[in-house]
Amino acid sequence: MALFSKFRKNKKGKTVEMILDHDGKNWTVSNDSITLAAPSLDSLDRKVERALEEELKQGQSINVFMSFNNEVIPMWIRPYMNHYFNRILELPLQYQS
């Protein structure tokens, strides 16, 4: 059941919206104030966490809603499926030992 509880919305904390993208080499996230890039999602998540460090220090939890830029999907594929994926990153990250 723990697995299925993961998709339930964490209603506590504020939500930050970002656009997730892939430039062929790196995953990127951006909004009006920041743009970050990393070769793997894990390292990208850590960069996001560092970028929002100030707010996290105040003890606030943050949900980063990342909606994927579906422009990455070539035009000829979009009629078949025009959505790649969205994800929510819950900060602070709970590092596993």
């Binding site: 994927f68 830029n69 009629p79 790649y84 990153l89 596993q96």
Partner: protein
């Protein structure tokens, strides 16, 4: 400007998937108006089998002379405007069909933010080329069956290929492929309007009308046999439900047998990385390109993995479209089990376009063969085999969102263990194929008319309502559906470039696909289809059609 899916209504005005629903339902609603005596759909131009000149003793019936090769369906079926639609003649009906669908598709193109001018130019060429091919494909040499020849009193030794409407589909595909592979600048020019997925999804909404109309047609045709007519109608309604329920088996097979099988082949034999194996597994096992993209997203693969697999899917789907209808008709499972063949097609062919097109081709081949083999003693109603292929596929399509969601949970939390990563439930809806909504709406509304006011054709009042419903349904399920199938075949050919197979660095993936498809998926699909569909029979309409 990034294009994202954020709300449940995202894409309703801008995606092909939704536009197939809007366009399909718009014409479906126009068709329904015939229930109140208003026929706004009888203009659709439809081909007849033709010869340059009739041989001695032959009569114009199923086969006509070439000047009558097209007609407005309303000229034959309309109850209120027959004379008007008849007066359109072949050229007039084609031009009206062109104008109406040009307006409808251009509105769609505008909202989808395509280059409308380029779309219009490409559409015009594809439309008239399609009609030209449709005309050629309906020459009696290609299309006439034993029954057609008999009904038109042709000499008994007349030789034809007996391909029925299948000849036109094959020809459209060939012409499209020639353009796509040998006239590339033209193919690029046409690409703005060569949209097989849009056309086929719209055709599938029209197919929903067909499925709902099948019992109505059976009753009205069978009414000529007296009380037996209603029985045939009920039989047909039950058959469509049986196809619906038996089709559910396909879902289990695709997700729980095919997917683990292909994933294992990819990992153990070809040593592909996990993510590639997962994407490939979904593409080959489930629903092709849409599954490849959905799975790529679910396992957080780089988009290029899904894109490469998708390119492979499109080419293989066309190969299947060319090979399987003939194989299923003449080798295995054959005409003794037509529904098994249709269902197996739905499980084996991985894009909606290629599957519906292959199902339609199979329908034409099987009906022509059985009529020929039995000398016209067995005549199947058109569209039942297509329905079995599409119904199976739709079952598979519907669950891709849920599958990708479960896969994402598993991948994110169990395999890669991303910290803090949460998979939103809305992903299921974003990946749900929306055209399915149009298909079911059209099917169930016609079925409601059949069982509701139509009273299953058991009373004179009910029969009168069904006769009105038939006028609108025929124009949509026969005229518009076949036209959009033809457009699909043509467009599919235009966008298929076989050189991509050689040029792209697919490496092992080509072989995983080949081995999985031909040695695993297709044989298992036939066996499973046999287990769940064996014994389902299409009612024989020979007594009505011939005598």
């Amino acid at each position: 400007m990034a294009k994202t899916q954020r709300s449940w209504y995202s894409g309703m005005a801008t995606t092909e998937d939704w536009w197939s629903v809007w366009m399909g339902l718009a014409f479906f609603v126009l068709g329904l108006l015939t229930l109140s005596g208003i026929d706004l759909v009888g203009w659709v131009s439809y081909p007849k089998i033709w010869v340059a000149s009739l041989p001695d003793g032959a009569i114009v019936k199923k086969i006509v002379t070439m000047d009558k090769a097209f007609y407005a369906l309303g000229g034959k079926y309309s109850l209120t405007s027959k004379a008007f639609y008849k007066a359109l003649g072949p050229i007039g009906s084609i031009l009206v069909t062109y104008v109406v669908f040009t307006i409808a598709t251009s509105i769609g193109a505008y909202f989808q933010k395509w280059n409308v001018k380029r779309f219009l130019a490409g559409w015009t060429i594809i439309f008239f080329l399609t009609y030209l091919v449709w005309f050629i494909g309906h020459n009696a040499f290609f299309a006439a069956s034993a029954v057609d020849l008999k009904k038109s009193h042709f000499p008994v030794d007349t030789f034809t290929l007996s391909l029925g409407g299948g000849a036109s589909f094959i020809l459209a595909l060939i012409v499209g492929l020639v353009i796509g592979n040998f006239f590339k600048p033209l193919a690029r020019y046409l690409s703005e309007a060569a949209k097989p997925e849009w056309y086929i999804k719209t055709a599938i909404v029209f197919l929903g009308v067909k499925v709902g109309y099948l019992p109505i047609k059976a009753v009205l045709t069978g009414a000529k046999l007296g009380a037996h007519g209603a029985e045939i109608g009920q039989q047909m309604a039950h058959l469509t439900f049986e196809l619906f329920t038996a089709g559910a088996a396909a879902t289990i097979v695709a997700y729980l047998i095919f997917w683990p099988g292909v994933y294992t082949i990819s990992r153990l034999i070809f040593k592909l990385p996990r993510k590639t194996a997962a994407v490939l597994g979904s593409a080959i096992s489930i629903c092709g390109v849409s599954a490849a993209v959905a799975t790529g997203g679910a396992v957080r693969a780089r988009p290029v993995v899904s894109i490469m697999v998708s390119a492979l899917v499109v080419v293989y789907a066309v190969i299947e479209l060319v090979v399987l209808p003939g194989f299923f008709t003449h080798v295995w499972p054959g005409t003794s089990d037509p529904i098994v063949a249709g269902s197996a097609m739905g499980m084996a062919v991985k894009t909606d376009g290629a599957d519906a097109a292959a199902g339609e081709l199979l329908d034409e081949f099987m009906r022509a063969k059985v009529e020929k083999d039995t000398d016209g003693k067995v005549v199947w109603m058109p569209g039942v085999i297509t329905t079995s292929a599409v119904m199976t596929k739709i079952w598979i399509d519907m669950f891709i969102g849920l599958w990708a969601f479960i896969l994402a949970l598993f991948w994110v939390y169990k395999i890669e263990k991303h910290e803090g990563d949460r998979v939103p439930l809305s992903e299921v809806w974003f990946r749900f194929p929306k055209f399915v909504l149009g298909y079911f709406a059209a099917w169930w509304i016609y079925l409601a008319i059949f069982f509701g006011p139509g009273q299953s054709g058991t009373t004179p009042d009910g029969l009168a309502i069904l006769k009105n419903a038939k006028v609108g349904a025929v124009a949509v399920e026969k005229g518009m559906r076949k036209l959009f199938f033809m457009l699909t075949f043509m467009s599919l050919g235009i966008i298929t470039d076989f050189r991509k197979l050689a040029e792209a660095q697919f490496g092992k993936m080509v072989w995983v696909y080949f081995i999985s498809l031909f040695l695993f998926i297709i044989p298992v699909a036939i066996i499973i289809a046999y287990l769940f569909h064996h014994g389902m029979q299409i009612p024989n309409m020979a007594g009505v059609v011939i005598n």
